[in-house]
Amino acid sequence: MEGGLLTTPEFATFTEKVVPFLHVTTRIEGRAHEGLLREKGGRGFPTLMFLDAEGEILGEPGGRDVASFDKTLGALMAIKDLEKRIAAGEKNLDDDLFMAQLAMGQFKTVKEIEEKAQSFKKLTEEQKSTIAKAIVAKKVEEAMNNMERGPDGQAKLGKKFKAIYDEGIYPEGDMEGPFWGFLMEYAESEGDAKTMEVALDHVKRIFGKEEWAKGLIEEKEASLKKIKEGGEDVAEEEVVEG
């Protein structure tokens, strides 16, 4: 990113629309705001986010390209506009604001989303679907944040993700990668070729163009093949025995 996107003229142009803030975690003692990423709930490097003038998180860009940055910024401006109109007394905008805030991930817990959603009596099917997806994404995020360390924790997380997967609604946005990645690992450990194949396809879609992911994907493809071959052997044996 630092050797690519962030050095482009398109990115430089984008930064003129915002206050571009570069935060470096240094491990230098006594440095002001050294732990800011952690305070903001960041989980790795690099992390990108939009903040308001008070430092409150407004949202994270939907992708790592200038078009996504612009799209997210546009959505944030739309929220700002709705808030102003509501504050000025305009009616019937609450559900639009809720859906826009939901799309930006501005709710902190599943409970908060559910309570807010219940306050709306009439929701379209599309809105209901958006809410369901947002709840799933938040469930995945909460599970990630509460993950126990070590292999047991990873297995428990994978099991939770399998239960979510079985319900048929999948997270979008930032939680997509961890969701499919952990599900892939879990399915592999369980010898569940069908689920592993689906999860691996998503991992390829999300990370396939990344240089660092190539080795991992090859490794998982080989593992999947092995599981499938093992499964076929068992099936053949069963047929013979029958």
């Binding site: 630092e2 050797g3 962030l6 050095t7 482009t8 990115f11 430089a12 930064t15 629309k17 915002v18 206050v19 571009p20 803030f21 570069l22 935060h23 470096v24 975690t25 240094t26 491990r27 230098i28 003692e29 002001a32 705001h33 050294e34 732990g35 800011l36 990423l37 903001k40 960041g42 989980r43 790795g44 490097f45 690099p46 992390t47 990108l48 986010m49 939009f50 903040l51 308001d52 003038a53 430092g55 407004l58 940055f69 910024l73 944030l76 990630m144 944040n145 993950m147 360390r149 990873q154 990668g177 961890p178 990645g181 952990f182 690992e185 991992v203 990370f207 660092w212 992911a213 991992l216």
Partner: protein
Amino acid sequence: MISLKQLLAPAVIGLALAAPAAAQDQEQMQKNLDDKMAKEFVSNAAWVTDYDEARKIAKEQGKVIFVYFTRSYSP
């Protein structure tokens, strides 16, 4: 090769994120930061590097802050 955990489970970074380096490493950490700030991407935009200053400008100009979190202590 990067492990799956590093790729897909950024949550596991946890406490390591903000842990200061041992005292003897402080000089090296400063050098790492200087090297980071000398990179081309830093001069490509008018980055603000002070959090308080960023918030102040956002308030004055009515803009939102776009943060890029990176690290210098490790590549």
